[in-house]
Symmetry: C2
Subunit: 965 residues, 2 copies
Amino acid sequence: MNTTVHSRALLYTDWTLTEPYFDPVLLRTRETIFTIGNGYLGTRGSFEEGYPQALPATLISGVYDDVPVIYTELANCPDWLSLVIIINGERFRLDRGDILHYERQLDLHAGVLSRFVRWRSPTGKTLEFRFERFASLADRHMLGLRCQITSIDGSGRLAEPFPWKIEVQSSLNGYPENQGFDHWEQLDQGELEQGIEQGIWLQVCTRTSHIELVMAAKIAVIGTEASFQVASPPGYHTLTTTFMAAAGQTISVEKVVTVFTSQETERPVQAAQDKLLALPSYALLLKAHQQAWEAVWQHSDIVIEGDRMAQLAVRYNLFQLIISASPQNDRVSIPAKTLSGFGYRGHIFWDTEIFILPFFTLTQPAIARSLLTYRYHALEGARRKASHSRYQGAMFPWESAATGDEVTPRSSMPTDPYAEAVRIWCRDREIHLSADIAYAVWQYWQVTGDDLWLRDYGAEIILDTARFWMSRLEWHPQQTRYELCGVIGADEYHEQVPNNAFTNRMVQWHLETAVAVYEWLQRTFPNQAAVLAQRLQLTPAQLLSWQAAIAQIYIPYNAETGLIEQFEGFFQLKDIDLTDYEPRDRSIQAVLGMDETNQRQVLKQPDVLMLLYLMRGVQAAPYSHDVLQKNWDYYAPRTDSTYGSSLTSAIHAILAADLGAPAAAYQQFMQAAMVDLDDNRGNTADGIHAASAGGVWQAVVFGFGGIQLKNSGPVATPHLPPTWSRLQFKLHWHGTCHSFDFVPSDSHTPNIQGFIFDLDGVLTDTAEWHYRAWQQLADEEHLPFDRQANEALRGVSRRESLLLIVGSHAYSELELQKMMDRKNRYYVESIQTITDKDVLPGALNLLAEIRQAGIKIAIGSASKNAKTVIEKLGLADHVDAIADGYSVEHPKPAPDLFLYAAHQLGLDPAHCVVVEDAAAGIAAAIAGGMWTIGLGPADRVDSADIVLPNLMGIHLADLQTKLSR
Amino acid sequence: MNTTVHSRALLYTDWTLTEPYFDPVLLRTRETIFTIGNGYLGTRGSFEEGYPQALPATLISGVYDDVPVIYTELANCPDWLSLVIIINGERFRLDRGDILHYERQLDLHAGVLSRFVRWRSPTGKTLEFRFERFASLADRHMLGLRCQITSIDGSGRLAEPFPWKIEVQSSLNGYPENQGFDHWEQLDQGELEQGIEQGIWLQVCTRTSHIELVMAAKIAVIGTEASFQVASPPGYHTLTTTFMAAAGQTISVEKVVTVFTSQETERPVQAAQDKLLALPSYALLLKAHQQAWEAVWQHSDIVIEGDRMAQLAVRYNLFQLIISASPQNDRVSIPAKTLSGFGYRGHIFWDTEIFILPFFTLTQPAIARSLLTYRYHALEGARRKASHSRYQGAMFPWESAATGDEVTPRSSMPTDPYAEAVRIWCRDREIHLSADIAYAVWQYWQVTGDDLWLRDYGAEIILDTARFWMSRLEWHPQQTRYELCGVIGADEYHEQVPNNAFTNRMVQWHLETAVAVYEWLQRTFPNQAAVLAQRLQLTPAQLLSWQAAIAQIYIPYNAETGLIEQFEGFFQLKDIDLTDYEPRDRSIQAVLGMDETNQRQVLKQPDVLMLLYLMRGVQAAPYSHDVLQKNWDYYAPRTDSTYGSSLTSAIHAILAADLGAPAAAYQQFMQAAMVDLDDNRGNTADGIHAASAGGVWQAVVFGFGGIQLKNSGPVATPHLPPTWSRLQFKLHWHGTCHSFDFVPSDSHTPNIQGFIFDLDGVLTDTAEWHYRAWQQLADEEHLPFDRQANEALRGVSRRESLLLIVGSHAYSELELQKMMDRKNRYYVESIQTITDKDVLPGALNLLAEIRQAGIKIAIGSASKNAKTVIEKLGLADHVDAIADGYSVEHPKPAPDLFLYAAHQLGLDPAHCVVVEDAAAGIAAAIAGGMWTIGLGPADRVDSADIVLPNLMGIHLADLQTKLSR
């Protein structure tokens, strides 16, 4: 719950994301969220002035270096942000003095991160700081940082009189670290001068991959005379500029940085200096950057109207994808955590080809081509991997980096000296990746018609991986079929299984495609076909054997039931009902252990459903609406979609939309879209969930837009979420841009047939009684609790409230149950004194108006005493249905309670309005596809369609007007 | 050969070690060699100005932090040395400009490292720098660094006129690294002022062990007015002092540093600042430090006369031991590579108890007590290890660190992504350590009579490890004996062997000792005995079972042959003749591979002989002179003493001395003594070989001094090497200091019966002909070669000369052979022209005098043409024997050639004088136990007994007088 409460603190407009206060606890998560970049590099949203717990990072695409156990990782590059500001000897730090105002904002449209802080120093000097930074999209080797300092007030008790002496120390920090490891050796450093600006440069080199990197920076002070001093400790060249500031004076310090590596130029020192000296003004650089973003959004934006949170979240995910993709370097690809964090160490998975690539293929095909060409260059590594495993052709590694060799760690390394290492089987067993890459190659060709690329690059990828499959397939003469045993499918909860349906069918499809591509090549480019045949030793006999294999690969599909068995034996495993384990805050594997999970019919991520999704994309069997429905019904409830894999939600959203289940589709979609903004998996600090971000684009376009890619082009069958009044996007197809613009016919006149009221805080305020009951219990148990702690219980179920109060104290389940009973007893005793005077102002009048209008009324309250309270308040005659703490299993923010209430009223959720005062309640209503009225401060219920302080003086007509806006 | 040639460049006096030139190739090796320290910390000999390939390190005893794979390591602490000097904008760096003079000197007596450099900057400014540093032994939290700068000459072509602006940037570098890993988080930093001095401080904390460390530094400039500026980039606080220097002016910059961690004080920030402000002048601090060293040497010095190299080498080894041992903290011990490098990551092995401890036990017992108390505190970890392995009692870990838990890595981590990890079995199988620790405890008690420590600490160590042995012993009913199978003995070439003699007998001895200690405790301190009995659950029945086990442990000793079998089955392994593999530059395991080595009768280090050495120490079976002789004859030739383990040489030296084999003893002793000074194993860059250093002390005292520790006290039976004219040392025994002073009766009148002359450079100079032959060959092969390169071939064999010339060019063995033949052909053709006029001045006369005196003459030359040359020179009648390039297999510096010559003359080596002009030749003669006359510059043949420019005007009588000095 904490996470959700905190994340709500982010404020959204259509294009901006704002953090309204500084919370050191969220430092690392927010560093990830406020990552900026330009495809060449990414820089986490760390603060210029530095904090002990911070994880600043600038990661450059392709700059890998060796490291024990995990072989290689993206090397954190020198930190270009470092800016220490000292006012009359006092250093600016948010954790000292007082923060009078704070606001950090990421402008997605302009690609600019800014921060405004009004700060009072420990001695009482008040200043304002406006920071701004960008990684230029117009010139990817250029970075800009500006700090405007205004001296506001020196009247604090201890403050010195004006003018103040302000020192700004600007460094290139040559000691960056990858969680402690510094990949760089210091080579050289120096200074340069140009007019009033002064510059420094730093030359470093990775320890084992020997990539040279040079950063150069120049500083300009605008608004006053300033002096410059240089300190040049090895690796930490620092330029200090000193000036005097009068009261109210604003002075700007502009730091412009260039960066080059030996990957782009043989002489990075020269390149970084030359560019730095040739750059125009900061203002012009910023303008060019903003224009470049404008151009990118022209092609890649998605417009959603009627759902601001979805709008912002989608754009945020696209922003993060765009800043991780290099259009200039076809020897790099997008890591699983982009260039935004240390998770998975910059390694590249199938995430890129299956989840991320469609966005680029269909909106910026040049980038898609570059990303796929990375795999072409990685073929040599894939061949080494195949050869080391005694297979033929090219076997792409589960985790890939600079060379295309396998870089999945062999095992986890325990820190407990007596624990055994756990083998990581994906390395050897999760082999479907080679088919996934072929799928992405095929899709790129289908969408772009880029025959020359297929001829020169793509065909070799598809054909040499097909050769690998032929050597990997096992012929079982007794069954007269080909099998693949000992594999891990898309679902990683089951290791080393026989005949995984996903893998087997993808391999079959791959071989079909390989035959087709080879025939096309022979037909269209016979010379190139001959060259390739010789290079890969392809013979007509071999091609025949491929066709034979296609016919004989075993696919565990039961035509009678329509069910595909995830792998041979899956249906024999012990079944599971995931609701038995709710609520939980970790994966089912963490709950049950690896071995037990392996023995259950529970999935980490879609496997059969993933296969159906991919086969939907290529219009191939076994996909059909009927097969999808049957397998969805079987597998979706058995998938650990909350804490299993972040790859799940977007795919489930698309399939649910396909199957006409808009509430489920929307709920899954928002789970994917908010994965980082809400940190709803708790690991955003490690970096952006790139696959989920790519899935979000697919969910909007393929799911809600219902786009299917036919041979003739993209065809739409939109199923928009109920609250969306418009959806616009563009797709590129064979060099032409197709615009899509969906406006549901009924979106301007909501047809409200029912109202569902939360009870506490909406119709009455039992918070005080609850608080007293909890306080009594806590005192008896000697647990710390007070009114402030009570605030965190708003909208939280009884059980979860208790868990928050007991914190880390150990209680048995029985004791917890007894404590809940006791608290309830205290509460029930007290609510016997409730009367109709306890109905909140305005509520009774509004209820009467609603009934007069013939609109139905339900109560949707998590309280198990809702019925008693309604009776005591004298409202029993006003309501048609009561959904209370006994009605459903999953509490808010799950939509279940409100869906139950709507069902009791006999209404479609899209025709219901929920009135709520808690963030979780609004989220539940949105997840249920209902209209929402939020009561209370805006930062709590900001995502509601209408926000009101309370119900005093509110009339039904007002609400209807506002909803129809 | 390169290594030897370089290391000869170190110059020795009795107390100083001097590096006469700067060689960047040796940077890391010399950093280790010039390590200073004070037991609390060690600082490698890195340069203040910093170099790209440098490995600067300051390691503090006990400051461990977590790290993957190897669990924990000593964290490299912030670098206090950093001093950047900039003269008119030019930075002082040895790799820029010209080094006009260079000398680095470690004064072992004073514990001070100094460096003198005269340097001409790239623009032609000449300056002198005198650096000096020490880690105070008087106040172990204080470090001193001084740089005296003299502006010499500004007359270079581009040099600016005086005065020069000199900036000295002094930092505390908060970004130290353990081979890339930075263990520190930055907490805070700041400044302090005191009079004309200005200070800075840095507060950091280890990432996982959360040890806080604070360094504070103040700077004083003596000799001029200076201004100060501070730059405070996070973690790299830098104090820049700027002053103007006139021609010839000398200005001193003094940097005084204090350091504290949270291991010593709860408030390290305060402690470091308070101490810094309270310190007296640099000069007084230095004086106190020198006095403290004086006091330490009073107890721990060894005086050797007649062999300067041995004298210096022994003191050097003791110096390195003294600076690694903390007398103040009994929760730390001495790591295998001391505090001088990253090898073995600061982990603690049996090296400490068996190799290092005797030096402290017998010269500084308070330190020995502290080191042993470390193991007492580590008992909890040892119990956890035992319990995790399902044993009882305490099982000490093979590698230990802060907690006493096992920190041996489970396996090596290959960097090749397709290579499998290699399991490190020592972790689980090399179990003898627990008995080794008991041995050291017992020896400490025997030497000191410290009953109270044994009562309060030692007894629990001995008894709880005895309990472990009882649970580890395997009862074999068929053989009615106890066995220990699947172990690794002292010799690590054989993994998982049954009934290793070393282990089994040590365990038996351990149980015997445990019974004795327990009985002593019951007798002397019955209360404490009862407490311990309860704590360790000792019962009378158990004690009986211990005694039964003692009687029934199987020791594979054959009384008939007197041979102890290293382990059951060792004698069945394939035998080996190590000379078959010479010459080699790597271990036999590296030559044969792990598996094949495992199958051979070849040892990495003494095992049976180690057992005999330890049993000699406690006067117990199976040690006897006869058993030792038989097992020495068997095992010594089968031990890989050059490249196996560095633990071998000192032990072999002692046993050889015991057995009356002085030449072998001395050769092994010098191999151990020079292991780091000569870098003769090629890994000194990783840190000092601490066990070897401890072994060197034992070799002098127990070997050459022949000390045996009887119950009554130490008893000496000296067998000094022939060249030693005096040996003095002190031993502590039961609180009393015993002084030993050995002067061999014949040491003042060497009985010279033979002269052995090198040929080239001594009797004639064929260098010119050799040079021409090599030049002709090199020209034909297009290999770079000139007179300067020819210098490196002095004293080097034909084959090795050729290898030096071909360098990295690839030639097959056949090609090399053909080239040697060709060169020799050119040479042989040319030497046909030699006549008696080519005899060098003075030689003929001296040869005549020697023959007249009835003293024999031999030639000892590596040349295969020696006979031809002698004939052509007309000297054939003057010599009694010729040892040439055909005579022996191992070239100089092996003693073989000279020993062969002495044998030909029928003389004891101690009665021979070798006349040589090459460093390798002098080394060979010393190794052979002969007297030496070195011809040539002192820095080449400095270690000879007599150094002469050449033989001109030299008479036999002069030589005899000088040798008798």
